[in-house]
């Protein structure tokens, strides 16, 4: 169709293993205690698209808006509508997260709306996952893990940053007063899962399905 290769990568029906599949989170969720300072949930198998383009070009921001119904977020923020969120990753880079299986159709829609522009859309759905941390001690766990200042005065709801996380990296998103999301890479997910269990041990950790 164009000068780029776009094809549907997710099968309609096939067994899927999210990056944290091996941790058996569903099983843990059934066994877990109800009161815990930290509650963890994997928001798995969503559609992740990395969008690149020129933020200063009204045709680009307009095209993104017409395709998604979302304004391009400014630096260090994310915007969300329903199950779709769009996050600033860099001056010319955004992360779009959509419900599982919609990524192919949305990529096509985006490409159509941005036709003729120098842009890039890349499906990275298999390469990362979201771990949601909530609870009264979620912020304490973040303080153990990242050098970035996660105090609400510096990190209000709606902010998102990429930073260090233990000895790996993560995108940290503040989505609700006591709710945070970590966007982590598949290959590092086991390390981060071990780290999070350890860091939240003193507050009590519950897993939510």
């Amino acid at each position: 169709m164009s000068n780029v290769n776009v094809y549907k990568q997710r099968p309609d029906a096939a067994r899927a293993e999210s990056p944290l599949f091996h941790a058996g989170l569903d099983e843990l969720a059934r066994k877990g205690k109800s009161s815990a300072g930290v509650i963890l949930r994997e928001k798995k198998l969503l559609g992740h698209l990395v969008i690149r383009g020129d933020a200063k070009d009204p045709a680009f921001s307009g095209g993104v808006h017409s395709a998604l119904g979302l304004e391009l977020p400014v630096a260090l923020t994310l915007v969300a509508k329903g199950d779709t969120s769009l996050q600033w990753l860099g001056p010319d880079e955004w992360l779009l997260i959509v419900p599982s299986g919609q990524e192919f159709e949305i990529e096509q829609r985006l490409r159509k709306a941005l036709d003729g522009q120098h842009i890039s859309v890349v499906n990275v759905s298999g390469g990362q996952t979201i771990v949601e941390l909530s609870g009264t001690n979620a912020r304490d766990v973040l303080m153990k893990s990242t050098t970035y200042d996660v105090h609400p005065s510096n990190f209000p709801v709606g902010k998102a940053v990429g930073s260090t996380f233990a000895k790996a990296g993560a995108v940290i998103r503040h989505t609700g007063e006591d709710t945070w999301e970590l966007l982590i890479r598949r290959s590092f997910s086991d390390y981060i899962w071990l780290w999070l269990q350890d860091a939240s041990a003193e507050y009590g950790l519950a897993v939510k399905a």
């Binding site: 000068n3 997710r10 890039s120 890349v122 298999g126 990242t146 233990a166």
Partner: protein
């Protein structure tokens, strides 16, 4: 044993909670609220250790971090051992077990003690080095015994059961020290709404206010402390950190605080709790209110147990209800020291005499002491302590300060406790960590913090401000400035009222004169922990060590865990006097982090055990585990190394895996290769510039191998890149080079060629890759895919899309084994299912999983290089005999072209990659073995290259290697030799590096 020195009342200890503990094998009792030092003193324990060098008995001197002697080993079990604990900083808990670190066989009867006494006069500084220097080869032997005899505690031999962690903190104002200045600063900053951290190293906040005689608002100062803490505790943005020592002051107002969370509860932390926590603080402003350390006077035998700091005795009396003696003598040069006299009298003890170096002191406390009948000897000092293992008397003489002389025969008074105070040294350690040279102030006889390179405010005693009212005012002001500087709005507040008291200035007195010369007088100790005497310092200056830094290193003054807390200023003063210069001219040594010792556990935090380093896994990892794979670390990745069957060793497993691939088909998890999605109209041009070869004519649907060089023309990565759309490429990189290459592309795009329209996105983790390799790979793949695999429809170095195992896949027909190969890429979430389907279908073809070792052997048989193994950052494409991969006619000067055309890179005798065939086909050359042309030459031989890869080939039936050899490409057929460390030599023939299927027929079928 009863607590002989415990006063009937007083102190902040809880007498209803007795705690038993053990010191050097004997049981004692103390109270909750005691420090270990307070409890030892309460029990009349005089000797807590033997000195480092002379092995003299030593007792507790101080009450805080500056304690030089009571540095103990704690722990009842091997795994709980902690060295270097100051008894003055360790809270007492039930069952505490402590022992002296110096003193063998025991502190009371020490072998070295006799040596020290006999040889004492013959052990000047530098003794060990001077005496044991020759013969040089015996030093190692000497050192072993000296260290054993000296001892400074020991690390546990068993695994520490505790956990330690780190917390990243950010604040507007970090207040260091919770004495009067720090509390005032924290209060005003807290009230402004600032994010405040207040850290103090002691068990409770209050600092000097916990044992002061002075009142605030007419009430005991501790009431004000309690009120302030209560207010601070209610502020949501204020973090209070007791038992937390600010140990390091680093650049950009980054400070490290070492908090001992549970050390007061027991030797092992309650389950699930971290024992220590390091707070890594980034502060907008710092208020340094570290206070001051009292300076002892330097007189003969001032190290005998029973010599203490004046203020420390007040602390023991007022805070712990402990009187470490009966009959006290004070030797001082200042008014403030008199509080110990009044405290001692209030405790019902006897003050024998005060020796005041001043001629006519008339301050308020001096007069109060006189009024209460204390004998004050003016113009005098204690010149010598007397006693054996404990002070039994003091010799007080009149002294002439100006001429540094004893002017009377003096008198010997009976006493069991000599306390001294030579003034107060601001704790400038933290202020010096970043290089600010402390400044001498003659008016207060002290160094204060020098230039602050950071946004820092000093307050209170550390700032040279001493009166309580002034200290509080200084604290409030610093807190207000800090809060305002951090952008907070300061609110007005009022200070508590302090007493007015007449105080007179001190006179300068550091070393007390003696009738004999310094070197003849009984030892006068300056640095008790390092056994540095005034005579030693004089000797240092006499021997020409005039710089303060040299004096320090010659004598060990201020070394080690002590960091000169007690002795530094006295030492400098003595050195200055000895050289006839002022202290200001002498200057001071610098202090380094850490202020007090930090356990290794706290340094490591949670980065230990399984969390020491991230381990990266592929989507198929679980399957590899189930198959019993052995793993190899490749960067942070865990890659299957080989898949041993029952009873197989690595050699057998690899031979079997190799044979399966050559004969039928094998499967490899290649997911770890770096993968970069490249889109944009200039993508092709960009590839032309970063790869050595040409990309202009690569059609959509095709793939090509590329080499990447740095500017110097040296190879730094390689991989296959496929054209998936006219403006769309998928680049693969080496596993270890993935992040490096991604950064490389971005750097060049962002800094050199921003005009090129291209975007790069890492898809390494998104795609899982499984490689089918071997003559039966086509047949096997055909069973699980809808892609037309016909050799003409899907030729070598092309790719296709289709379903594999029911999952959309991109399949690349490329080969790293030389066999017919397909690399199947699917979204990683679905990879395990696809892998299992292929494995199931592959049973009839003896599909064999293989690991990196087999991959290495197979590729080496084909002469394919591995970046970082066959290259080392010093080889050009031509050195690798890969000139075919260099686009010599590309119009744009691509990265590496100029570099590889430098004269040196064009030499024909450069080390070049060749194959080696050992003459004995059963001998495998060790990788890394150096090569020579003539094995008979004498050592050192002329080395002409080395082996880069070497294996036994079960396919070919002989051993083979790849190597770099000088001018090797022109030496095909010649011999090289590898002389090995065991004396044997392996001889090999230089040959082409392509050993197997040189025409490449097998991968093209």
């Amino acid at each position: 044993m009863s607590q002989v020195n415990r006063l009937p009342k007083g102190g902040r200890v809880d007498r209803s909670q007795p705690l038993t503990f053990t010191f050097n094998g004997e049981n004692y009792q103390g109270f909750a609220g005691d420090t270990l030092a307070a409890a030892l003193l309460a029990n009349g324990v005089d000797i807590v250790g033997r000195s480092f060098k002379y092995s003299r008995p030593r007792g507790i001197v101080a009450a805080g971090a500056e304690e030089p002697n009571a540095v103990l080993q704690i722990g009842s079990t091997e795994s709980a051992q902690v060295p270097n604990v100051r008894a003055t900083q360790q809270a007492l808990y039930a069952g505490l077990v402590a022992s002296s670190t110096n003193g063998w066989p025991n502190v009371k009867n020490d072998v070295m003690g006799i040596l020290g006494k006999v040889g004492g006069g013959m052990m000047p500084p530098g003794f060990y080095y001077k005496t044991f220097m020759y013969p040089q080869n015996l030093w190692l032997t000497y050192e072993k015994y000296i260290r054993k005899a000296a001892g400074l505690g020991r690390a546990p031999l068993e695994v520490d059961p505790d956990i330690y962690d780190h917390l990243n903190q950010h604040c507007d104002v970090l207040v260091i020290g919770a004495g009067p200045a720090g509390l005032a600063a924290a209060l005003v900053a807290g009230r402004s709404g600032a994010r405040v951290i207040l850290a103090d190293e002691q068990e409770e906040f209050g600092g000097s206010l916990l044992d002061t005689r002075e009142t605030l608002d007419g009430k005991p100062a501790t009431e004000w402390v309690a009120k302030v803490i209560a207010e601070l505790e209610k502020m949501p943005e204020v973090t209070l950190l007791p038992r937390a020592t600010v140990n390091g002051y680093h650049d950009h107002n980054f400070l490290t605080i070492h908090q001992r969370l549970t050390d007061h509860l027991g030797e092992i932390a309650p389950r699930g709790q971290a024992r220590h926590r390091v707070h890594r603080v980034r502060a907008k402003r710092v208020v340094l209110a570290a206070g001051a350390h009292e300076r002892p006077l330097v007189y003969s035998n001032n190290d005998l147990p029973g010599n203490m700091l004046a203020g420390a005795v007040s602390t023991y009396v007022n805070r712990y209800g402990v009187a470490p003696g009966r009959q006290l003598v004070l030797s001082t040069n200042n008014d403030y020291a008199y509080r110990v006299v009044l405290d001692w009298l209030d405790a019902g003890q006897q003050v024998v005499a005060v020796a005041d170096a001043r001629s006519n002191p008339r301050g308020a406390w001096v007069e109060e002491a006189r009024a209460r009948g204390v004998r004050v000897l003016t113009g005098s000092a204690v010149v010598e302590a007397r006693g054996n293992k404990r002070v039994s008397g003091a010799r007080i003489c009149a002294i002439d300060l100006k001429n540094h002389k004893v002017t009377s025969s003096g008198e010997l008074v009976e006493c069991d406790l000599i306390v001294s105070s030579g003034g107060y040294s601001p704790v400038v350690h933290l202020a010096s960590h970043l290089g600010g040279k402390p400044t001498w102030r003659e008016d207060i006889l002290a160094f204060i913090p020098g230039e602050g390179f950071q946004k820092r405010h000093c307050a209170g005693a550390v700032n040279g401000v001493f009166g309580l009212g002034d200290v509080l005012a200084d604290g409030f002001e610093a807190g207000a400035k800090a809060a305002a500087g951090a952008g907070c709005k300061v609110v007005e507040g009022s200070m508590p009222k302090t007493e007015k008291r007449k105080e007179e200035a001190a006179v300068a007195l550091f070393q007390v004169p003696h009738e004999k010369s310094t070197s003849r007088a009984p030892k006068q100790f300056v640095d008790l922990q390092n056994d540095v005497t005034s005579a030693g310092i004089e000797l240092a200056t006499r021997e020409g060590f005039e710089s303060v830094e040299h004096v320090k290193r010659y004598t060990a003054l201020g070394f080690g865990t002590d960091q000169g807390k007690l002795g530094n200023i006295n030492g400098l003063a003595i050195a200055a006097k000895s050289m006839g210069i002022s202290i200001a001219e002498m200057g001071t040594t610098m202090f380094r982090p850490n202020y007090t010792p930090v356990t290794f556990g706290a340094v490591a935090g949670r980065h230990c055990g399984p969390l020491f380093e991230p381990k990266r896994y592929t989507a198929m990892h679980r399957w590899h585990l189930e198959q019993g794979a052995e793993f190899e670390d490749v960067g942070q990745w865990k890659r299957p190394w080989y898949f041993p069957k029952r009873g197989e060793d690595m050699h057998a497993a690899v031979a079997r895996e190799c044979k399966a691939v050559r004969d039928s088909v094998g499967i490899l998890d290649a997911s770890t290769l770096g993968k970069i999605d490249i889109q944009g109209p200039d993508a092709r041009e960009f590839l032309n510039r970063v790869y050595t070869n040409a990309w202009t004519k690569l059609d959509v649907g095709k793939a090509r191998y590329g080499l990447m060089c740095k500017e110097d023309g040296m190879v730094f990565d390689d991989g296959v890149t496929a054209c998936v759309g006219e403006n769309h490429f998928i680049m693969t990189t080496t596993t270890g080079g993935a992040a490096r290459v991604m950064e490389w592309l971005e750097i060049y795009h962002q800094t050199e060629w921003p005009e090129l329209k291209v975007y790069f996105t890492s898809v390494t983790d998104h795609w899982a890759t499984m490689t089918l390799s071997g003559p039966n790979s086509r047949k096997l793949l055909a069973e699980v895919t809808d892609i037309d695999l016909d050799k003409d429809a899907f030729p070598f170095m092309t790719w296709k899309e289709g379903l594999v195992g029911g999952v959309p896949a991109r399949v690349f027909r490329i080969s790293f084994t030389g066999e017919l190969s397909y690399e199947v890429n699917v979204q990683a979430d679905y990879a395990l299912g696809v892998w299992e389907k292929i494995v199931e279908a592959g049973k009839k073809y003896n599909l064999t999983p293989y690991g990196t070792e087999t991959m290495h052997v197979l590729r080496a048989e084909k002469g394919f290089i591995i970046i970082g193994q066959d290259t080392d950052g010093s080889v050009t494409p031509d050195d690798l005999n890969m000139g075919w991969c260099v686009g010599r006619n590309k119009p744009f000067s691509w990265i590496g072209w100029r570099g590889m055309n430098r004269e040196d890179c064009l030499r024909e005798d450069r080390k070049q990659l060749v194959g080696l065939k050992p003459i004995d086909p059963n001998k495998v050359l060790p990788e890394g073995a150096q090569l020579v042309f003539d094995p008979k030459q004498s050592i050192p031989m002329k080395m002409v290259g080395h082996v880069t890869s070497s294996y036994m080939s079960s396919t070919m039936g002989y051993s083979f290697a790849m190597a770099v050899v000088k001018g090797g490409l022109k030496r095909i057929g010649e011999r090289v030799f590898a002389p090995l460390t065991d004396g044997s030599v392996i001889e090999a023939e230089i040959c082409s590096s392509v050993f197997y299927d040189p025409k490449g027929d097998r991968q093209h079928v």
